[in-house]
């Protein structure tokens, strides 16, 4: 029987020879990730044990990852107290993949999981964060779940009630023009299929553009697959995946790869020509409100944000630096930079990236989710507009329902920081 990669992963994890699309399975979980919302997971976990007479014990402390990133360092006593409770719980239960607020090991959960080699091709990964789709970039079936579902996973080690999803195959061919980036591919796709176009489905990425893309770009693409409603995005593991895991994550053990069968059945096939693609902008207030940059160029921007689990990686910072070197951030525009992890922060520092960015007028903040979800830093004033490399532009997203968020690549964000208005980086002249 011909199967997609996700069918194969779910069959293996559920102990079945094969699974059909639509079957309900109970796969074993390889990595169960939470961030500060582990506070709610803990609460629900203890509820499950209530009245059982059993001592609450997680199924396997080595398969659980907890990473503080949403509000670091804590912005309020409520968050600080939640973080304290989580720390105590983690110590009691012996959870080993814990990343606290420390310069040497902190970062955004969706950077830490790949960077530390916690995710491997063929794994089933769940996270109490909708952008858990990210880890499909390494060939895993990885999806977001709620806190109560995570409490159930902590208890049982399996995900109850997983329908085997149909798969949309997206084939991307052609070479991207200079300063057209992986972010532009995924924004273009979301604009094309809409915010619910892949609801309850998986998007599997193929084609020479994806094959030639580094893992960081694949991460951007899988990260935002959820903005088309996808359960997960996935790039079949290949030589690049192995290279990333060996060189970036220091993985030394065997890395088996899984791929779809050649004639597996797909829900539909979408082809994208990367060579003709222009930089794309997701305009307020939905991620599928996507326009080529030319249509919104000139829009005045009050705040530029470069960072997040979508585009806070070293190559994003390098692109921004290359563009901004020798220029200044426009007067009246703020530029905030949030590297995705402590490791990236240190690498950027060593490469002199911060010197260039700060000389230009950018503010470099500590690794973390930053202003992306409007809970910590970098809130917007009434009537202000932000251009951000993050993944959502919903009303109120950056902490103010009377502000607007535009989404773009790091290249567009950097060029726009110089001019103070939305600017096409491929055109130069800034």
């Amino acid at each position: 029987m011909k199967q997609t990669i996700v069918q194969k992963i779910l069959a293996r994890a559920s102990g079945l020879p094969f699974v059909n699309v639509g079957d309900i399975v109970e796969p074993k979980v390889d990595v169960a990730m939470s961030h500060e919302n582990a506070a709610l997971v803990m609460n629900q976990f203890l509820e499950i044990y209530k009245g059982t007479g059993l001592e609450p014990k997680v199924w396997n402390p080595d398969n659980i990852a907890v990473i503080f990133d949403h509000r670091v360092p804590a912005e309020s006593k409520k968050t600080a107290t939640n973080q304290k409770k989580i720390r105590n719980f983690i110590a009691e239960q012996g959870v080993s993949k814990f990343h606290d607020i420390r310069g040497d090991e902190m970062g955004i959960c969706h950077q830490i999981l790949p960077q530390y080699g916690y995710v491997r091709p063929g794994y089933v990964v769940v996270g109490t964060d909708s952008h858990t789709t990210t880890h499909g970039a390494l060939g895993a079936f990885s999806f977001g779940i709620g806190a109560t579902e995570m409490a159930s996973v902590w208890t049982l080690g399996v995900m109850l009630n997983v329908p085997v999803p149909p798969t949309i195959k997206v084939v991307v061919n052609g070479t991207l023009k200079k300063y057209v980036q992986p972010k532009d591919i995924i924004l273009y796709l979301i604009g094309k299929i809409s915010a619910e176009g892949a609801n309850f489905k998986v998007i599997e990425f193929h084609g020479e553009t994806i094959r030639n893309m580094r893992t960081s770009g694949r991460i951007t693409i899988c990260n935002m697959s959820v903005e088309a409603g996808a359960t997960s995005g996935i790039v079949p593991g290949d030589e690049e995946t192995v290279k990333y895991l060996r060189e970036e994550a220091g993985v030394t053990d065997e890395i088996p790869l899984v791929n779809s069968d050649k004639d597996a059945e797909f829900d539909k096939i979408i082809e994208i020509d990367a060579s003709t693609l222009e930089p794309q902008i997701a305009c307020p207030h939905t991620v599928d409100n996507v326009k080529p940059v030319g249509q919104v160029a000139g829009t005045k921007i009050d705040q530029i944000v470069i960072g997040s689990c979508t585009n806070g990686r070293l190559d994003d910072l390098e692109t921004a630096t290359e563009i901004i070197k020798g220029h200044k951030v426009a007067k009246g525009t703020r530029m905030l930079v949030f590297p995705a992890s402590g490791k990236i922060y240190r690498q950027a520092m060593e490469k002199g990236i911060f010197e260039v960015l700060m000389n230009a007028g950018a503010v470099v903040a500590n690794p973390g989710c930053g202003p992306c979800l409007g809970v910590h830093q970098g809130a917007l004033g009434d009537g202000e507009k932000a251009l951000s490399t993050t993944n959502r532009n919903f009303k109120g997203r950056m902490g103010n329902p009377d502000a607007e968020v535009y989404l773009s690549s790091a290249a567009v964000a950097a060029a726009s920081a110089i001019t103070g208005v939305i600017t096409d980086p491929t055109k130069g002249g800034y």
């Binding site: 059982t52 909708s130 109560t148 208890t155 915010a195 609801n199 009303k395």
Partner: protein, 166 residues
């Protein structure tokens, strides 16, 4: 019989249902006051304690899109609301089933504020408009979770079955 108290368009995100800045509040019992905090009139109405249990919100397509935050369900559950939408985003739908927030998938729903609706297992009957709309039932496992009283009770049952097996 239940009354529609509010009608939304498509793509109502969890940031609208429960804005991110309240996410440090996690306990289900503490979340209801922040429901639709930025939709001031609706928030005021819900917190006025004048809305009867089982009142209905009508959504369009992709209701609950965005973040996995479970507060978006517990906040609505706290007000004992029923959500009828053309379809739901995946994580929100599963969270609602897990927490016991009643969600109904009704692709052709036509209902306005103050319409009186009767809900059966197969359809939504709009008494005011004199129209009926078929619903898409939840999956068998989802129904089992609902019947068990939510995912906490369902997982507890599974846990105890395992303990007895060993």
């Amino acid at each position: 019989m239940s009354k529609v108290i509010y009608k939304f368009g498509d793509d109502i995100s969890t940031d609208i249902i429960y804005p991110g800045r309240f996410m440090a509040t996690v306990l289900p019992s503490e979340t209801p006051e922040f429901a639709f905090a930025d939709e001031k009139e609706l928030n005021k109405l819900l917190n006025s304690k004048t809305v009867p249990a089982n009142s209905i919100l009508i959504g369009g397509k992709n209701f609950g899109c965005g973040s996995s935050r479970e507060q978006a369900c517990s906040t609505l559950k706290g007000h004992e609301l029923i959500i009828i939408a053309r379809n739901f985003a995946r994580i929100f739908l599963q969270n609602s089933i897990n927490l016991g927030l009643k969600t109904i998938i009704c692709p052709d729903i036509d209902a306005d504020v103050n319409d009186e609706l009767e809900l059966t297992d197969e359809k939504v009957i709009n008494k005011t408009k004199g129209k009926e709309f078929a619903i898409i039932p939840h999956t068998k496992t989802q129904q089992e979770i609902i019947e068990a009283g939510g995912l906490i009770a369902y997982s507890r049952k599974k846990l105890m079955e395992r303990v007895l097996e060993n």
